[in-house]
Subunit: 245 residues, 2 copies
DNA sequence: CAGTGGTCTAGACCACACT
DNA sequence: GTGTGGTCTAGACCACTGC
């Protein structure tokens, strides 16, 4: 008698896995088109409908983007209509774009060794090399977001403050093109906090001003954590927007 | 020459609309099963596959729940595995259930006339009758959430503090069974704020304690707003959790 | 025009739940 | 066993894009 392991896996799930492998391996890069459904059906020896269902799920996971008449493309953080896909902060009136281009200032960028909590979040070991970036985002001239970002040192070898400052566009787009790291999903933990002296200065707020603390872990393929980000948001003129369904 | 109105609508979208109508009209009530796919295909004179696609979308919108071998059911806030479907607050360790049953205390419940901002949020006119409820939720014995809730007076005629206190289970479940109002989706705006004297007392926090302000508008079918809720969350031991994808 | 994704159908068969 | 949703196939045709 076997142990009860149903292990039934629909064909389309297996196809989904194969497509995922090709995405991870870099066979199809962000922004590029993948082979047509008919072509993939031939390659995997299944019907077009089965490939279709696999692609449907990957599209609803935001890994692929379908464009009728043109093809299916690997999702990317660059040239994506939504400039800030993971940033849920919105002005109380209008939208982020209407506030003109945001200003980014890299305050600090250094290599150091992971503390225990950083290591845990990034699935590293304490003492492993990590990169720490601190930056301030301003909207309509007012400093609004202070972020500390930790990245595993190995995949991001060669990332410098100059590189970051010179790049105009989403940081995650730079990660894709320069380091081959594509962020797929993220989780955030949000709290209300008070700023310390340093934070007050950088955000130009008085002590005692309540701020939103947003701790984000971003994952690449395979649920591998690749970024820890601790943000402080000013919420006098902005709010964190979330849709529940 | 006509104005350019392609107005092409796939069959399954039309079916989706018809099913939605039946949901709104109450032909199928929350928790009940809807007719089988084959039956619906016969009723609408389309193939099972087309009905399937319509139901697929309604299921991914959380309006229907499919259960293999049993049927397709109208989603409900009662008996739903996720006790708190719209509450994104989580303890820093463990989960809400592990903290034992939450305690709810109705602080206040009165009828009044809508102010301008309440009216706007609920798509009413200033001065229209509304019901206001104030309550405190405690987890593990500690008051954690203070909520002010505004409901349009008409659909919620007969709702009283006694009714609310007596009911054990999600408030949205009571809305379904007692008032035939099913909340389908919601939007939240989150800020960091400081409590006023009344709020300090109810939440048992010191002045100057930063709190999460969560303003929610909940909608029933047809994008009709049916509830405005302003919550204050203590975030010393809890956090607002959000998944981005 | 050819090529892509999108829709619709019809039928066969599988997995699951209840009786 | 019967009925439900779930998978898979094959083929026809539609809508959109770009040459």
């Amino acid at each position: 008698m076997q142990a009860a392991t149903p292990a039934f896996s629909p064909l389309y799930q297996q196809i989904k896995g194969l497509i995922l492998q090709s995405l991870q391996s870099g066979e199809w890069k962000p922004g590029e088109s993948i082979p047509s459904e008919i072509e993939l059906a031939g390659r995997y020896r299944v019907s077009q409908g089965t490939v279709r269902k696999a692609i449907d799920e990957l599209a609803s996971d935001n890994l692929l983007v379908r464009r009728q008449g043109k093809g299916t493309f690997v999702a990317t953080h660059a040239e994506q209509h939504v400039q800030y896909r993971f940033l849920k902060l919105a002005p109380d009136t209008g939208n982020l774009d209407s506030e003109g281009p945001s200003q980014r200032e890299i305050v600090d960028c250094k290599r150091l060794r992971a503390t225990a909590d950083i290591a845990r979040a990034l699935a590293l070991r304490s003492g492993d090399p990590v990169l720490q970036v601190r930056r301030v985002l301003s909207f309509a001239g007012a400093p609004t977001i202070l972020e500390d970002i930790w990245l595993p040192g190995n995949p991001f070898k060669g990332l410098t403050a100059e590189r970051l400052s010179a790049y105009h566009g989403p940081m995650y787009a730079l990660f894709e093109t320069e380091f081959g790291v594509r962020m797929v999903r993220a989780e955030e933990k949000i709290r209300a906090v008070l700023p310390d002296a340093t934070q007050q200065k950088l955000l130009q707020v008085a002590s005692g001003t309540p701020l939103l603390s947003v701790e984000r872990v971003a994952y690449t393929y395979n649920d591998t954590p690749m970024e820890l980000r601790r943000g402080l948001y000013r919420t006098e003129k902005h709010h964190y927007h979330n849709a529940l369904s």
